[in-house]
Subunit: 415 residues, 2 copies
Amino acid sequence: MQKIFASLITIGDELLIGQTIDTNSAWMAQELNDAGIWVQRRVAVGDDRAAILRALAEEGAASHIVLITGGLGPTADDITKPVLCEYFGAKLVLNEAALENVKHIFSRHGVAMPERNTEQAMVPDTAAIIQNGRGTAPGMWFEKNGTIYVSMPGVPHEMKGMMTGHVVPQLRQRFTTPALLHHTLITSGQGESFVADRLKDFEAGLPAHIRLAYLPSYGLLKLRLTTFAADQAAAEADMNAAFTQLKTILADISVAGRDEPMGVIVGDLLKARGLTLGTAESCTGGKIASQVTAVAGSSAYFKGSVVSYANETKMNLLGVQAATLEQYGAVSEETVREMAEGALKVLHTDCVIAVSGIMGPDGGSPEKPVGTVWIAAGGKNSIRTTRYHFRYDRERNTDMTCVAALNELRKWLEY
Amino acid sequence: MQKIFASLITIGDELLIGQTIDTNSAWMAQELNDAGIWVQRRVAVGDDRAAILRALAEEGAASHIVLITGGLGPTADDITKPVLCEYFGAKLVLNEAALENVKHIFSRHGVAMPERNTEQAMVPDTAAIIQNGRGTAPGMWFEKNGTIYVSMPGVPHEMKGMMTGHVVPQLRQRFTTPALLHHTLITSGQGESFVADRLKDFEAGLPAHIRLAYLPSYGLLKLRLTTFAADQAAAEADMNAAFTQLKTILADISVAGRDEPMGVIVGDLLKARGLTLGTAESCTGGKIASQVTAVAGSSAYFKGSVVSYANETKMNLLGVQAATLEQYGAVSEETVREMAEGALKVLHTDCVIAVSGIMGPDGGSPEKPVGTVWIAAGGKNSIRTTRYHFRYDRERNTDMTCVAALNELRKWLEY
């Protein structure tokens, strides 16, 4: 069966000067993969006529489907629509439904529609229009030389609405795609090279249509199996067999058999066991709690956190002893243990995570260099403490600490 | 003066299936912009020989500089190095310094180097080698037909070390670049179309070499002026004049005259005034505290947060009255005010932010639909409360709430 290829084109100077991180492309790629469509290239270009025309021609020649985002706003720097008209030999005509939509959006916010927004309802006459339920710029569906081009706004929730409501269902109808499956095993505690050595025979024995990839990620290592197959059932059977084998070989270092954030993995464990969680955070400043509560339904098991950034807060809210801070310092096994015990008491939870560390760039010393972190995880009758040393910048040290802390609680829950 | 163009090529299937969000490209683009180099295209391709060769040829033909990341790991899915050898007609030779570095990294972690890592010290004989101070894969600098190609690892902190330590300084020496300046004004409270109407004359009067762009971002609107000019001093003078004019026109909706996260903007205000901050967070789950503490040095003004996700925690730690929760509900002006007052008391701070809302997808009601948020910001003698209604998904509602809450505190501090 023929593979169906897609290219993603993202338009906007903000992507080229580093003002914006492109999160749309990853989301779009996931949706397309679920529909059996392989994204072969992602291209970002500026708000520049020649660059956009070149990208349309190159990606259109290489892919069955070209999805375009960005440059559809009401201001002068948004030039995607006229360039699309040029490329597809179209002229702009007023779309009444789009105009109604724009007017409706402004009236919902209780303001009159500025004249310039009328232009957002002007659409190329050769395009099928995708109404925008979440914003003022309509989407546009073109076809040329057997390739489908869809232009959508760059605002994430507007693009997502169009993709799930219209574009992906239409593409599924249009193409008969092979099954495209990914299975990911998350591991911790062993480096890429060591794991690869353990998987030498496994990798050599994989069927040709299954591919193994290694993806280090914040102190974890993700192992991804990918397959393309004409027959969904056969693909799943092959994949399940290979994935089961992989999990068996790496059982000792396995974290989870799916690619979910640690907040989801730990949350599911807590939910399954009917346990509640609280956190006491110093150096992570609330980021662990934020990752736990990013999960819908987390209020079923998460009660709260004491972000005790100042020593004073550690003493006042968590009951950490002044003598402990004095003798061992804020970044110490003793302090992090008292933080955990205090959080269990004041938050009335079954489980707890506590962290204290030095994220940098300042605050390090020869005995406790930047990146030193103490993590406590456990429950009323057993709290385990672990020392980590991360060697990165402030942001990455913080993210590594969050992953490590959630993983310590997972280990405590599982063993 | 000639503009110097760069292309960024990112290699890895994880980028095409949506498993990884590309944060490297934005960072690299910022560094290049600071050196006066304009990134004209960013391309992501998979671990696929033909796709990599095509990208090298296309980007090499279009740009002076091609920076490549990814695919340099020790496992079989990492194919960038052999493909580079093919493209540049090179063969692999052992680099002693790179081998020493790999051995050193393993010995620092107290483990013997696996045999496969020797391969990471094998480098193309036509490349200048960039030693990796933070990992095992060396960088490679090639030149072909007048274009510079640099291949670096995809691991962010390894790439960053090579860029700042070697690549950017070398590029600065090599090219005489025009000054490339960006100035961003952040505004809040008025939509893109309305602001564009207010800036009609200003935009028409801008010199040809200064460009204005509109960038909506989480309830804020960023206005960016960009200029290229041969003469740095002249460029700065022109920019400063235009930027001052822009700030004057939009003084009533101005948030900050630089593109920094709200955590930095609010942190600088607190520092300048010698005030301390604490937060009481329900629906944001610690994310506001996390954004405040993402700033190095925030311990000078941030004392902590009570993440009171459960009502029980609101009562026990913040002293919210049971009657208030009963009568008005957790998402109400009355509750968020009591949360703020409680946080001021228990955290002993000068200022406070408190939030309570419904982030979705569940928990909404006709009177309080998903996206309803109450925000309190202020200090001991004056707390201001504001109701917001966001209409997005859980993640975006949370991020919008963080920005809005920090902006409410900024307004309270500034007026």
